[in-house]
Amino acid sequence: MDIKQDVGNVFPWDGTLTSSDFFRAAHMFSDKWRRFNTSVPPWLWVEGYLSLEKMSLFKSSEEKQDAGSLISKEERNMLENEEPFDCASLGPESDYQEINHYDFHVVYSASYKVPVLYFRAYHCDGQPLLLSEIEKGLPGLSVKLLSESKWTFITQEEHPYLNRPWYKLHPCGTCEWMKLLFSTHKSLTTNGSTIEHYLISWFSVVGQVFGLKIPLEMLNCS
């Protein structure tokens, strides 16, 4: 058992990770994701952070309160093989399903010692989405929760690696709710499997902002 840099050694655990813990957690997370999430893009490690790009979030304008569903690769291929998709030609009266594309990066914050989700979104024609447009596409309660709860909120900042403005979910509350998440499962923090579970638990929360689901199979330990 790995004890040296293991978060299981910090007791009581404060919800944070060292950057080397994050490196290991990120690789474990992306491996599991790839195994159980075959119909969506994989997470790739890109010189310091995890990247998942061109995720299509497919939301019916009529069922705003439902979680946005991920369209499968097959569906996406079908769409791509059809006639060129002219977003402008679909009228608002029809069951217009907006397809927005998201890029997600998971970057370690050395100051908060937790992962941070950076994201940007764009229309199917490549036009970047403003935050107000992004918020319109989020599942029902997300926007309200983001403004009222202190577990996170959206800010715009320069991406620490790419030097371009991206949106991010602010990490100030992360260690608190990570502590809470792990509090009912003491064995997870004391036997060192925190690293293995950390990003799955973390993503189960932040993914909900965008209506994303973690497949339950990912939780069954390897």
Binding site: F182, S183, S201, S204, Q208, G211, I214, L216, L219
Partner: protein, 94 residues
């Protein structure tokens, strides 16, 4: 045990557990149809506690998506015949 009467919808026993400074519910245990979504449990909690900003999670350090069906959650996280759903309130500003 999740009851399994023939011809009827399988129900799941849910136990709501207050954590942190969240108020404890008088009625914390109830049965819900397995086919219902987790959103129904969350909405119930919100109405009972008169709060929208709840942090809801289950025992394996996991916060289920509201779109998950209760029976799937019970199969993955159920212990001793029930699904324990933890909730905390201390996530609100001010």
């Amino acid at each position: 045990m999740a009851t399994d009467s023939p011809g009827s919808v399988r129900k799941v026993v849910v136990l709501l557990r207050a954590t942190g400074d969240a108020p404890i519910l008088k009625q914390a245990k109830f049965k819900i149809a397995g086919t219902d979504k987790f959103a129904k449990v969350i909405d119930f909690l919100r109405r009972q506690l008169h709060r929208d900003t709840l942090f809801v999670y289950v025992n394996s350090a996991f916060s289920p998506n509201p779109d998950e069906s209760v029976i799937d959650l019970y199969k993955n996280f159920g212990i001793d015949g029930k699904l324990v759903v933890n909730y905390a309130c201390s996530m609100a500003w001010g």
